[in-house]
Every structure is written in C-alpha cells, then in structure tokens.
C-alpha cells in the first residue's frame, strides 16, 4: 500500500487537526457523562449508628435485597436502580414499611424499633438543608 503519510518525516498541520478532534471527542464525552455522574445517589444503611451496607443506587442494574443481620426485628431491604425501601419488617410499628420508596438525596427511612436508618445522599446539591415533619 503506497501512502503519502508513510513518506513524511515531520508532523503536518493535519496531524494537529487529529489531535484537536481527539481532544474534542474527550471533552464531548465528559460533557455528556456529567449529568449521569451528577445524579449519583448513595444509600447508607446504619444500624444503631454502625454502617451495615452502602449502595450506589444510580448504578444498580439489578435489584438487591438485603436481610439485615443483627436487627432486633428481622427486616428486608430492597434496593433497585434509583430507589430503596424496606420491603418487610417484623417490627411492631410498621412505620418504616409504610414510608415506601425513597429516591432523592436527603430522604430517610427510619425503623425506630430496630434503630435502623437508611439515608440517601448525592452529589447533586439538595434544594434545602433540613426537613421538618
């Protein structure tokens, strides 16, 4: 194969264009990936102050269920892409199961009888600092 490129010994202006194209591609990718990274949501599950599990909810491709060992009342947590809930709990009050799914940074599910808290945090700035109620 005869190629003009094979005979050159010095870089040309067109090479600079290739460099620019690669840089532009990289920048474009970073730009396109940014929203996906920005909406990172992490669920941290603590039992009486100790972290027992942690999930990146935005990156879960398969649903996960977790039976928390050591909880006073056995309970099952279910996490899917972007959301998490307490699917079942043997606790007497059932307030935690009724809370249902949570999906946004700043939200919490609390199971008081178990002293268990699931809290969501994220890279996206939350629109407020605290929640009353």
């Amino acid at each position: 194969m005869r190629s003009p490129a094979a005979d050159r010994r010095r870089p040309t202006l067109w090479d600079g264009l290739v460099v620019l194209a690669v840089v532009a591609f990289a920048v474009l990718l970073v730009f396109l990936l940014r929203p996906a990274e920005g909406s990172a949501v992490t669920a941290v599950i603590t039992l009486d102050g100790e972290t027992v599990a942690q999930y990146r909810l935005d990156q879960l491709s398969q649903p996960v269920t977790l039976d928390v060992e050591g909880a006073a009342y056995p309970l099952t947590i279910r996490a899917e892409q972007g959301r998490i809930c307490i699917e079942h709990s043997d606790c007497p009050s059932q307030d935690c199961v009724r809370t249902g799914w949570i999906s946004r940074p700043g939200q919490q599910i609390i199971c008081l009888p178990n002293r268990l808290v699931i809290s969501l945090s994220g890279t996206e700035p939350e629109p407020f600092d605290a929640v009353t109620g």
């Binding site: 102050g49 609390i110 009888p113 808290v117 407020f128 929640v131």
Partner: protein, 345 residues
Amino acid sequence: MKRFLPFLCCLLFLAGCTAPSADAEPAQVQFFSMDTVMSIRVYNEGGEDAIQAARQEVERLDKLLSRTNPDSQISLLNSHAGDGTLISLDAEVADLLSFAKSVSQLLPGCFDITIAPVMDAWGFTKEERHVPSAEALADAMSLVNSEALIVDEASSSARLEQAGMEVDLGAVAKGFAAGRADAVLREYGVTSALLDLGGNVTAIGSKLDGSAWQVAVKDPQNTSEALCVLSLEDQTASTSGGYERYFEENGQTYHHIIDPKTGYPADSGLLSVTVISSDHMLADALSTTLFVAGPEEALDFWRSRDDFELVLCTEDNRVIVTEGLEAGYRPAGEDRGYTYEIARR
C-alpha cells in the same frame, strides 16, 4: 518557550489541586435518643467537640425525662402518684413541668402532659397499637388531669395527686433538649449548625455564607415531597401530624396525637401543623397543641401572640402560612393540588 513547556504542564496539573473550602462537609452525628432519631450538624470548623458535648447534653436530658427509663426523675414522680409524697426534682425538670402546665392553660383541652395512660391504652407506648375498649379508655381518661399535677418551682418539687396518673413529657422534651443543645453549641462558639431532633429542626445562626437555612416542611400526604420551604435563622420549626405514627384497624386509620378531650385521635381538620419560633420549647409544645385545636383556634391563638409563626395543612388541601413567614417561604406542592394562602393579623 520550549523549556517552559514542562513547567506550564505542571502548573496545569496543580491547578486542579485547590482546596475545596467553601462547600466543606459539616461535622455531623446521628444518634437515637428520646425514642427518635436525631442528628446534629455543625458547619463551623472543628465542630466535633461541640457536637459531642451537645449530644451528651441531649442524652443526659433523655435519662432525666424518659418515662420508659425506670431511673428517670419522671418515673420517680409517676411511681409516687397518689401517695402524697412531694418529689424533689432538678430545677430544670420542675421548670419544664410548670411550662407544660402553662401550655395546658393557654389552650384548655388541647394539651395535657398527663395523657400518658390514654397513650398506653392505645398501645402507642409499647408499640402494640390497637383501638382500646370503651372501659379501658374511660378508665385511662379518668386519670388525665394536669390540674392534679402540683409543681412547686420555688422548692423545685412536684407530685401527682391521683394514683395511676402519669406524666409524659414526649410533647415538650425535644424542644427543651433543642434549647439546651443550642446553648451548649454556642458555648463552643458555634455560629452555624442544624439540629434535627426527630423532625423538629432547629437552625442555629445562618449558613456560613450568611444566608438563611432552607428547611422543607414535609407534605403530610406524600412524605417524600415537600409542602413548602422556609427560611430560618436562630429558630426551631416543629411539625406535628397524624401521618407520623398511625395504624389501621377495620379500615379506619388511627394516629398518635390524642385529643385530651375525647381520648380519641384528634380530628380537627388538620393534616399537619408546623410552628416556627425562636423559643424552641414553645415551638415543640405548640405544634402538638395546635394540631389538636384545629385551624381556626390555631389562627386565633396566633393573632393573640407575636412569638411564633405557623404553617397549617388542612384536610381540604389548603396550606395556610402566617404573614411573618411570607418573605422567606416558597410553596412546593402546587402540582399536588395544594393552594397556598397567607393568614394576616
């Protein structure tokens, strides 16, 4: 130029290393106390010591005030109900008891810290929630009478006149604890912090950039959404609503805020009440009281005073915000059918 290129490259790399100071993560702790979840966040630098001190203060008060802790002063008072003994208490406990009595007098029939036997009858204390039988309820109701709680502030002592009576400070203890924790944090020089004592949010100072804290009020019908967002500085926002703890029996929903007049869950036309005040204890006590009182009485009471503001969410999806909050609040639930109105004096 060529020999400077490596330096330029180094500079470029180093440019990414500037310290992220403005949005530093606050020091924070989450813990269980007073039968709820609490969190303390301090945004000033080196807030860890302050946080630990504030937490210890809250836990100390929990030991002092808990009805379920047999060694607490409240348990001591309850165990001597009806036997005539005047129980001597810490001054702060006596003050808190007389404050609670005064709230009962402000809005008669809407608040009573001797409601504990009725709470027990409904199973809200031991988490065996059920509708009590008529007799059990009548028996329990006969023990509700904060007039029969005698408090002598001068000698900081108290007694319950009738056997079987019990005091439960659940409706004021978190507000009292917020006040004490606030004082402890300020002793440590904290000027920017948020306390969340089981849904009662106390804003200390302002954000580090000087702007007010943004505190959302939960939508009582959809607790993952906000009803509105308030701007707070050196204030507590305390919310009471039937959605927090409830149970269903025979298709009926029963929540945990019992009307001392009827012995049944309050049915005043309100879904939730949020009280905003620079008096942390007052905010806590009034949220429960005004939830029982209902929207008209709550607004009348607000017009008679100037030391708190209100956000009321009614059963017909109206959100009534008192005028003192008008400047700093923004509605957040129009798309869920809420209408917002400003109440004026």
